[in-house]
Amino acid sequence: MILLFGRIADPIIASLTVQLAARSTDLMVIDPAHSPVDEAVEWESDGNALLGFLRIDRRAIDASSIRSMYVREIGWAVTGATGGQTPGGSRARAESLWAFIEAYGGLVINRRIAGCTNASKPYQLELIRKQGFHVPQTLVTTDPEAARLFWEEFGGAVIYKSLSAERSIVKRMTVADIGRLGLLHTCPLQLQEFIPGVDVRVHVVGERIFATEIRSEAADYRYAERVGAGREMRPIDLPPDVAARCVTLTKSLGLVVAGVDLRRAADGEYYCFEANPSPAFLWFEDMTGQRIGEAIVELLCRGTVWN
């Protein structure tokens, strides 16, 4: 039995489901968008391993039959003012599921604690730097003057983005933005020196890597069409030392699967911006034919990162 936590409406979960089903794998999807039949989640552990059964939605799963888990989303919805049950169930249910996942001793892609570093990008950047990657000079500030000086220090070649797990589109800081720096008083901002070069997204799946080169004139290739920019993507080979560093970084963060964002500068040096613990690999797979999902499915079926 392989457990997938996430919405079936999420193409990532849907694609893994189709591929696992094609291998005649017994599956259970815990879909946070589905109203649970029963709020209760029950399981038992002796502190080392799960015991007996996981009882969820009035279904009992023999804990020893669970080969692996893929966690995309647990989710929980606030109970309505009337006290009625909302899709996804209660926070208590979600926390119980998280605790169950943490108590499970087998393969989990990915564990909650491992994904937490991505919730603070400056913190994660420091961990990335310790693994030997170049990282862009970064300033996190609520001080408009400090932000302006940073912008001047790099001759205006500065980008800004959110510093939490909240997604924001990366944007070059312009003269017009400098005029709005007074807004920083209410919320800190992350500024980074702009690194000219070519983007490389590396999907690490256990020991395997899938590197995709992305060429785009946009500051954020994911949203190139919004600024009328083009985008070309192709699979590439990374220098062995860079590839090894991506695997080491992923392991060091406690992740099994990660989407590592690199940029190859004009001098050939690789800068690392972040490691995404829940990468939307399907888009890259669809654009390049790289067998990323298949590699994840192989890990899930094997139940271990190691052969």
């Binding site: 924001s168 699979p235 034919g289 298949e294």
Partner: protein, 156 residues
């Protein structure tokens, strides 16, 4: 003394730079319960992928079926080989493509007479390459060539 503070309460990162990345439930609002069987879940998943524009039932999702396919070049492609590298022209859209030496060999093998498994075997025989790596590269090349309209399925 009052001050006009409202504008300062706006976040610096403006709304258009904060995309909504929440998963949409899709036109059918599909969900699955924990009691759904693997077959039921897979059916729903295929529907989701089709709605999202992904080829849910493509053999690409089933590696063994993928390799059973026989592909051949599309009719509107002209090509020439210079120094072991092929240059392809798609007459439909005027786009040019270049293939490296391994890609050129693969292109030559995709003549409608072999399955992709046979092409993979031939590549592994001809080049000193790890089979898994050759498999990865073959799939990536074929998917991209199909996307560009350079190949079509002969059968299977």
């Amino acid at each position: 003394m009052s001050e006009m503070r409202t504008p300062l309460h706006r976040p610096f990162i403006e709304p258009e730079l904060r995309p909504d990345v929440a998963v949409q439930p899709g036109a059918t609002g599909v969900t699955v319960g924990s009691s759904a069987s693997t077959e039921e879940i897979a059916q729903v998943a295929k529907q989701v992928l089709l709605e999202a524009g992904y080829p849910a039932v493509s053999p690409r999702w089933n590696p063994s079926q993928f390799l059973d396919r026989t592909l051949t070049s599309s009719l509107d492609i002209q090509f020439t080989v210079l120094d072991d590298e092929a240059i392809l022209l798609n007459l439909q859209n005027g786009h040019y493509y270049t293939l490296n030496s391994v890609g050129t060999v693969i292109w030559g093998l995709l003549d409608g007479s072999r399955t992709l498994r046979e092409v993979l075997n031939a590549v592994c025989d001809r080049f000193e390459v790890d089979r898994e790596r050759a498999h990865d590269d073959l799939v990536a090349l074929v998917v991209r060539m199909e996307r560009e309209g350079l190949l079509h399925t002969e059968r299977g």
